[in-house]
Amino acid sequence: MEALDILVTTSFWVAAIRIASPLIFATLGELICERAGVLNLGIEGIMTVGAFAGWFTVYSGGDLWTGVFVAAFAGAAFGLLHATLTVPLGLSQHVVGIGITLLATSLTYFTYRLALPQVTSPPKIEPFQPLPIPGLSQIPVIGEAMFSQTPLTYLAFVSVAVVAWVLYRTPLGLAVRAAGENPSAVEAQGISVTAVRMGAVMAGSALMAIGGAFLTMSAFNSFFFQMVNGRGWIAIALVVFGSWRPGKALIGAILFAAFDAYQIRLQQLAGGVLPYQVFLMLPYVLSILALVLVARRATYPKALMIPYQKGER
């Protein structure tokens, strides 16, 4: 039962948590946007921007945390563009989102080529290193998997707690959730739905960009074209799978990542029996199946994708 032995190895769980990290950031980011009533299909492009911005900052001499900050800022900037078009102007969130993804991706590739015209192999940076937490990282398997990761992974887990706390325990969180469920109630409280939604989209986009930056600054050490590779779309599926709750989304992301880590190991084990592409397809197919499974009981935020105009019902 070699295939099952994989599941009890420490390296498997270390990899699963590592693969989950960018998805946690991205899923949280999308969750915040959708909770406020805005579907952000710019996610794939915003992650690409974050991956490039973070990596390029470090490549140009900045330190790692500056890179994370620049990535978040770049993400928020595209979030602002998305929010301006979809919230006060009320344009189609589908069309604008795809437009943002196309724009963010092409601007990134353009900038990359401009900054590094002649490179054949992408230059490397010194990425975040694992930072074992004393004591906790000594616990067998789970301790090693959870507590000998890079600082960005810890940040991902902390973000889940922070977002959950803000959404459910603060007036701000109540306003965000209400903006996605019943915006006129928010307006009745004297709070601007437009401001809440735009802020949520910018904050969410910043998180997505950090998820992208994780790829170039923690998981790998350089920037490749197409490196986001559908992770943004998977995050959108994970938001539905996690029924718009940060905790459930976290579990979904870890389950998904465990599956992804598992298929990579199965590829090595079953090499030659099945083409490797079959294994690479599995995560995408799994996302679709997960959507079908939860679809019947999925309760979307009621005002998701519905533009709000003051004084209208």
Binding site: L102, L103, F110, L114, A237, Q277, L280, V285, I288, G311
Partner: protein, 349 residues
Amino acid sequence: MRLEPKPAPSLGVLLLYPLGAIAATLVFVSLLVLAAGASPFSVIWLVAKGAAGSQFAALETLTRATPLIFTGLAVAVAFRAKLWNIGAEAQLYVGGIVTVVLGTGALPLPQPVLLPVIAIAAMAAGALLLLGPALLKTRFGVDEVVTTLLLNFVVLLFVAMLLEGALKDPMGLGWPQSSKVVADAQLPRIVTGKRLHYGFVLALAAAFAIWVVMKKTVLGYEMRAVGHNPEAARFAGIPVDPVLMKTALLSGGLAALAGFSEVAGLKGNLTLDLSPGYGYSGIVVAMLAMLNPLGVVAAAIFVAGIFVGADAMSRSAGVPSYIADVVVATALLTMVTAILLSRFRVRWR
């Protein structure tokens, strides 16, 4: 701020808005060109010359426009019924797969029969591929945006698998490519010695046919009604789910024709770079055309011109050719904004 509907402006005023969008796009892209250390005026001139400055350039632009017309039509049809098909890329590749499978000698038919058979089979495959997400949408309420997007990745991996396995070209020296289709499965060239092929004529015919369907048939009316307000459409007795199914079949079939036309008319075989994102560019084409099937032709030629012109410009001016993708994406965002502003007035407070 709030939006107030405007009285319908005159045609002259209405045309000012798209022009404004084009101007805004040009200004933004000029800034990028300046950042690249080139002169915007010479770059714009080089792009225009590269897209339409010679017979070769113009024919190349029309060649590049051909798949964009098909994917643009696919998106226009789907979006009209608010079926968010973001999977034209996958449907295109499925069309390409069918063309190669049937066109490499599997069917011993004469050309006048073989080509239509392959085209119809390709359409059927693309239609079926979109039928899945459409059924998931109507039966289970699964959002089709995510499923069609994810299928793009699945299908591309499937193509990679075929090109290293069942469809691998034995003479390909290990390159991931299929064998060439036989001569009878190739669309003839329109001008001998040039790359423009009869796929372009097929694309024009498709655009006209879709225009007729949308404007003159009950189905077209139903699709518009479903897209406008599904609840009202249902209340008015329009069978919403069957209309969405028909829309999906039509849209998927059109996108698959792009793959058929690229393989049978231009490339001759299937590779992993058959489409440099024609499925996604099709969304821009459809939106620039305001979902009008005849407008799709003009928008596709415009977008193709940007790509072809930017390739030529990039070689001589040293500005990365990714600028073309930036132009196209910016044009999409400025155009949807312009269309909105032509209909609504922004009131501050």
